[in-house]
Amino acid sequence: MVTETTTWKADLTVDLAPNNPRELVLRNPVIPASGCFGYGQEYAGIIDVQALGAFCSKGITPEPRQGNPMPRITESPGGMLNAIGLQNPGIDGFIRKYPPVWESWDVPAIVNISAETVEDFAMMARKLDDVPGVAALEVNISCPNIHAGGFCFGWDAGMSAEVTRAVREATTLPIIVKLSPGAIDIPEIAMAVEEAGADAISLINTLVGMAIDTRTRRPKLANTTGGLSGPAVKPVALRMVYQAAQAVRIPIVGLGGITTLSDALEFFMAGASAIQIGTAVFSSPTVLTRLIDELGRWLDAQGVASLGEIVGTANPRFRGHESTPATASGME
């Protein structure tokens, strides 16, 4: 499973923020997903982190969080459930501790932020705006809005747009808004955040699931429910990426169960410009560099000069290559 460094001709670069002066150019489209790569250092001794397209940090919150009680993870068929509870040092502790390290790295660091109010999202964005070592923000709207009785921001187009707009006004950094699979109408949410100023969207976050220990007759996770991820969710994630790619023109970062080159190609062909790898990193950290390698060699073998040429090829109504800006009315 160890990747031998090979070379390929194909162009794997991708810009995830084409409309943003601060841009987000990746040398390749492979990004470890938030919460599955710590803060980068954890894997620095195992793979060449600077060979990646970028990496996402663990979700950061306004205040430090101890996270949920144990057990926090359990396995499910073809997947896993997690209820980490966003354990993190909080925005201030985070800024002191990690960006200074990343500054010396030649790979874009994307900071994943979570909050329970629009104001807190904006506050974190403002604090991160000019922190050296921070290349972009990923806005996790799969969290409960305490002003909406715990109803998740990402389930409602209006609330999703509100968060996006507030973050947009608070920073000029490239913004990737990460959608929740709990929403009924993904295209509606995607268009709403695009219009609200998102540079790109990423999807999907985890599905809500649970497991019960039949010996103790209690939920396996102390938190009762947890987020389902891994190969099991791939078909749902791919469908949502496919739908979103018919709704918006901004770049889409696809994720959810991606483990093999074939999985990755499915997401690109559905309309994703880049991909994130979460659970598969746990199964095989080298999957990240291996996918870059296999992708480059596959494109060469297919005689395709650049990755962009296969993006959306399986999606007849793919809008990513349109030149006119997308508007809700622009949709059929």
Partner: protein, 273 residues
């Protein structure tokens, strides 16, 4: 005071590698010693307590997805071989023990910290339960090599589930307990511990969680002050094994710590039981 600290992870390389199984040997009743090829740098760096995470499925199968942690049982540095003691329990360990000689397994390691044998220690007590025998066997060998006198207590439900005495260095005093009395003392291994608490400079243990609880009772009730200090290797379900997912936490007096990096070995005092 040492026991109020976390046990630092020694600088050991971590690699994802594919090993080829060279030997399978049935031991301790239903368990297996599984030996496979491994990078020599890893074999050389391995210390008692370190573990590796084994991928429990073929490359094109997606279930079960998560790696399973196994303590290093022994290494052959010159031959570049690593051995694990695997008891078939569920889906992952069951798959591993079914791999035949010649088949490949994907391994992530070295992971975690190691037992800390203090330089001034001359008498080490080890208390093993079930497959917890693995890291302590490696520790016994390290200790003997350093001239430390070792007493190795092992408990099991019956005689055949015990570690073979021949696996341990001759210098080690091997004392066993079985619940059915088929070998050694009839009862729990923890009942034997009090006899050794004045003798030992340090206590090391690994085994099922219930054993920890009774060991802790026995130690707190019988030792003098905080001597001898106790180091325990704990078990948590893991995903990443490198401190990235925060799924394998142990609640310590220093907060929630990932047992894959700040463990699996902890000073007993550090854990909030």
């Amino acid at each position: 005071m040492a026991s109020a600290q976390l046990i630092k992870r020694q600088p050991a390389p971590t690699r994802e590698f594919t090993g080829t199984i060279t030997e399978r040997m049935p031991v301790m009743g239903d368990a297996w010693l599984v030996t496979f090829t491994a990078p020599k740098e890893l074999c050389a760096a391995a210390r008692a307590g370190n573990f590796v995470n084994v991928l429990p499925h073929d490359h094109d199968v997606f279930d079960p997805p998560l790696r399973r942690p196994f303590s290093v049982y022994s290494v052959d540095v010159d031959a570049g071989l690593m051995t694990l003691l695997v008891r078939p329990y569920g889906r992952g360990s069951g798959w591993i023990v079914e791999r035949q000689v010649g088949s490949e397994i994907n391994v992530l390691g070295l992971l975690g910290n190691a037992f800390e044998l203090e330089p001034k220690s001359t008498h080490a007590l080890m208390v093993a339960g079930g497959v917890g025998a693995a890291p302590l066997l490696m520790l016994a060998r390290e200790a003997v090599a350093r001239g430390v006198s070792v007493t190795y207590l092992m408990g099991a439900h019956t005689a055949e589930a015990l570690l073979e005495a021949s696996e341990l260095p001759d210098e080690v005093e091997y004392v066993v307990a079985t619940e059915d009395g088929s070998a050694g003392y009839k009862g729990f291994v923890t009942d034997l511990v009090p006899n050794y608490l004045t003798w030992a400079d340090q206590v090391f243990t690994c085994g099922p969680t219930p054993m920890f609880y009774s060991l802790r009772q026995v130690v707190l009730a019988n030792r003098i002050g905080t001597k001898p200090p106790v180091q325990v290797s704990v078990e948590r379900t893991m995903a990443c094994g490198v401190g990235a997912c925060l799924g394998c936490m142990v609640e310590t007096r220093r907060g929630m710590k990932p047992s894959c990096v700040d463990g699996p070995v902890f000073h007993m005092e550090m854990i909030r039981w």
